[in-house]
Subunit: 345 residues, 2 copies
């Protein structure tokens, strides 16, 4: 396995590049905007294809690299259901899995630092974001933070993991790079409390100044979505209402870019083919399935996904591959359902 912990010394942020093999797919956790050049260089050097960029939560102390990485690599952006980010390619909830080739991360909803804070468990490693830090915990005094929720996330979720589980947080300010659940249980000074009320009191008395970057980072991180003006101008974006109207028309080929678990969870569109976004580029090449089906049927390919990001990128990829008779459903299944569109389970 390839595992790289990368440090941004300005914000004290740890980012993580994960992959199962050289030449394979990669995932990055909590990337920092200013380090995107370095990530891209490293990905090239390790011969990795970035397919997912995940933020554990909406950060207040640095601008996320999610949008920039998506724009450069066409990877999917991933955050939790509760995030206030405008658009990400995939939203996850407790119990979901985030997978790439050869690797699978269990999604744990661990609110408290913010109400969109998640942790990701991969075997004997847990990526705890700002929920559990090394000998510390993330502050809970803004962004719908809750020390009560954090107590529950830490004591009833994270600390229930095996003692030897390695803890990789999103930040460290004192030079530690890793800890274990067992160590934090015993030696994290904030966790030596006897009750949730004691923890709440402890957290209420920290009186920390706001992060320096907060006024810049939070708004920037809330506007991470892909810019789609071009697609609209080109008439390649169907609104959900327009899409509902063309459902079932014989000249339209609906292509679902979501992963199996998303389709099972949120429902499918009648008559749609499916190919996960990660394979769409391959499928659009000469000899690729999608290219052949589009050519054989002569139908207009209409991509859709969860929120319209993957499908917008697929339209662009199709154009690059010489397929111009394509469009996508703006806002994805999410908008479709909100507009009253029918789904099948």
């Amino acid at each position: 396995m390839i595992f790289r912990q990368l440090f941004d010394s300005v914000s004290g942020t740890y980012s993580y590049v994960l992959a199962s093999r050289p030449g394979g797919e990669a995932l990055i956790l909590d990337p920092v905007l200013e380090k995107v050049d370095r990530y891209c260089q490293l990905l090239r050097e390790l011969d990795l294809k970035l397919v997912k960029a995940v933020d554990t939560h909406l950060h207040a102390d640095h601008v996320t690299g999610l949008g920039e990485l998506r724009d450069r690599t066409h990877c999917m952006t991933v955050m939790g259901d509760q995030t206030k980010a405008d658009v990400v390619a995939m939203r996850v909830a407790d119990g979901d899995k985030v997978t790439i080739e050869g690797l699978s991360l269990d999604v744990m909803y661990t609110p408290g630092h913010t109400d969109d804070s998640y942790s990701y468990l991969m075997g004997d490693r847990v990526f705890t974001g700002d929920t559990l830090l090394i000998r510390g915990t993330g502050r809970t005094d803004f962004q719908n933070g809750s020390s009560r929720a954090q107590y529950d996330s830490i004591f009833n979720r994270l600390l229930k993991l095996p003692d030897e589980t390695m803890v990789f947080p999103a930040h460290d300010y004192k030079g530690d790079t890793v800890s274990t659940i067992g160590e934090e249980k015993r030696y994290n000074p904030r966790l030596q409390v006897r009750s949730v009320d004691e923890y709440i009191e402890l957290m209420a008395n920290l009186k920390l100044p706001n992060p320096k970057m907060m006024d810049v980072a939070v708004p920037a991180n809330m506007h991470v979505g892909l810019h789609q003006e071009e697609l609209e101008k080109e008439g390649r974006a169907l609104s959900a209402v327009e899409a509902i109207r063309v459902l079932g028309r014989p000249d339209i080929l609906l292509v679902d870019l979501r992963e199996t678990n998303e389709r099972m969870k949120h429902g499918m569109l009648e008559g749609a083919l499916h190919t996960p976004y990660q394979s769409v580029e391959e499928s659009l090449k000469p000899g690729g399935m999608l290219r052949e089906v589009a050519a054989a049927t002569g139908r207009r390919v209409v991509f859709f996904c969860a929120f319209g990001e993957r499908s917008a990128m697929a339209v662009a990829a199709a154009k690059d591959a010489g397929l111009t008779n394509t469009a996508h459903i703006a806002g994805g299944i999410d908008a479709w359902k909100k507009a009253g569109g029918p789904v099948v389970q």
Copy 2:
């Protein structure tokens, strides 16, 4: 195995704590003085006994934690043969091994950054000090640095290791934590040269300012040896000449604290018992071998080692254990041999 990479953000130094198991012996590489509290806390928390503190070379950018760690934990300090540090407990040379319980590091002499620069290989990890950095190399323009020697150390030693060997340097300034030999071979910009002369020219044109800490760090790091004034005042330090005079006397029990490989390499004293320094504390406890032998024979225990540090600490440990009729040979076997003392191989 326990493996901890620790960062000092002031000097950009990576230190490494290694151990084979919780509750066992530990070794630390390139500790920083200002972080000694943190190291000691972590060692306590992980239930580790620090037995060796190793500097890859005499650092010019931070004050070493070697002396402070020795004073606090009674560990052995270790550096290379060529070091200009006044006294360390053990000096190593190319081909030696540095061992602790359950772990063994191969010593590689890799001069260039300084003439006392060493790398340490442990399985698929190599600790490269300032010889090979991630996408860089250590400067060669002071402390008897030599870009010619460094070229040889890197190209003919380090880069001959398997491509997948993980590279853990003593510094990083850009947020990387680890690399591999294969990556550095291909992507380290300083290593894309066609000849040693090209490398020498490249290094000659860096024109770097001296490290900020240099005027403080170098003198401090050269005076890392244990203060032994007390022992001398108490009459517990025999000079080499005095020691040679008492060799063979029936009221003297010579105890060699060196490790087997040191004894084989540098010679032994006729009639001396031996117990490695790491076990001396145990041996001094009630029921311990050394305590029993001293009591049974009534002889004065005279400890000795390589340079007199371990033996000085053993005298102190004996005093703590209630054995007061002890002394040591100041300067160790090194001083003994320089004074013309006889050794047996």
